[in-house]
């Protein structure tokens, strides 16, 4: 083999050896504590959505229900329900973005936390000011980029998918948890 070709083959040989950074920013328990620091208990309530519920959620949110399971925890303190903690995944460019949505007892968004983000670009969605835009939102809110949610240039896909995901979860709350 020509010696230049041997050198040129190095990128292909080195590529699989490069480390993969799968960043987990928060565990499930850490996200629960961050969103509901005053909670005494998180009661796991996994719900398998019926075809009718999926159809209703898709119609209300205009977002496809990819997984027919709702990962929800009823949050309690002193015998009272504080709200709901929902764990969800949306598409990133290569892998899934794992995030948690906290709803208060009335169904309004209390906060969002990003648990896993593995993409090359777009990590700005972890910015607290961007996530704060969702606080107080309820089912029926537009949750659209350049409308009631500001887009982050260079992170458009992540911003859109998280906003779509929150809209779907709010519609799920209305259809199943309320």
């Amino acid at each position: 083999m020509h010696k230049e070709l041997i050198w040129l083959s190095l990128p292909a040989l080195a590529a699989p050896a490069l480390p993969a950074y799968a960043v987990q920013y928060l565990t499930l328990e850490q996200a629960q504590r961050a969103l509901f620091p005053e909670a005494a208990a998180f009661r796991e309530t996994r719900i398998l959505l019926t075809a009718e519920q999926r159809a209703a959620i898709e119609k209300a949110s205009r977002v496809r229900v990819r997984v027919p399971e709702l990962n929800a925890w009823r949050v309690e303190s002193a015998g009272k329900t504080l709200g709901w903690f929902l764990l969800d995944e949306v598409y990133g460019k290569h892998e899934f973005i794992t995030y948690a949505l906290a709803l208060d007892y009335s169904g309004a968004v209390r906060g969002i936390e990003i648990l896993d983000y593995r993409e090359t670009h777009g990590g700005e969605v972890r910015n607290a000011n961007w996530r704060a835009q969702f606080v107080g939102k309820r089912a029926g809110a537009p949750l659209e980029l350049d409308n009631d949610i500001k887009n982050i240039s260079g992170a458009t896909l992540s911003c859109k998918h998280i906003a779509d995901g929150v809209r779907r979860l709010l519609a799920s709350y209305e259809a199943v948890l309320k």
Binding site: P11, P19, H94, H121, D146, A155
Partner: protein, 301 residues
Amino acid sequence: MTHKPLLSRSLVAALALAALVPTARADENLLGYTTGAETLPQGATEGYFWYTQRNDKGSGHYAARDYKAELEYGFTHRFTGSLALHGLGIDTHGLSIDGYLPKDERYGFKASGIQLGMKYNILSPVKDGLGLSIYVEPSYFWKDPHSGQDKDSYKLETQLLLQKNFMDDTLVWVGNLGFEGTWAKRKAIADLPPGFDWPTTPEMEIELSAKTGVSYRFAPNWFVGGEVVYQTEFETEVGQERWSVFAGPSLHYGSKQWWATLTWMPQLAGGGASTYPGQPEHLHLVEKTKQEIRLKLGYNF
């Protein structure tokens, strides 16, 4: 040109070193030939290495290898600029094409050209429903990619890049319309066969291209796709010199730090004014080959 051996070694060194820097899709290439409308985020840098093998002209032995090392930078969220160095390797014998392939030639690697790229995004495929970008690429080559001989070519290519995403952005359609103008002048070759046509007067060529393809994310990190590329070229002396249709599949893997795309593109149909005696019918095999294989690697810095 005396600077070429140095350029060759510099290009090889740059490719090897760039690839060994450990680094963390904006302008990620899901397909081998058809380009998406997305640009890099502002401040982001991406390195590319392309290897293309062009094989088989239907007679004799013909194998050419194109190398491209490119560095791309996001000047703004909408404007990306790039600088690319090209290399060429060739092994051809037992085939002579009047006006195109003057003699047997064999070398492993020589620097062959330099290229600037500018991409401006007008509409986002994610936010605006349909992605639209304009791409402009001036370049200078000093090697003829078909014969491997010395030939100065100044090219200006412009492309309209379209992209439409479906199914939560996991199914991507891309379409490109391209226009390329070329001014070229061959260097004289000694000891040509009697009567062999190797004009050394300046030539003007215009190439039009249309490309379309789809790519689908079938598993995390993995995309499978296919594309069709139509090219036609008009030249000073013969009018429509050639046309060709290539089509084939692509497999793409993308992660946080790097991505790779492997594409196989056989020629399905071709023709035009340029043929060589005895070549297989219904294909253009003077400047093109029966098939191309392309590997692209990308690294995010």
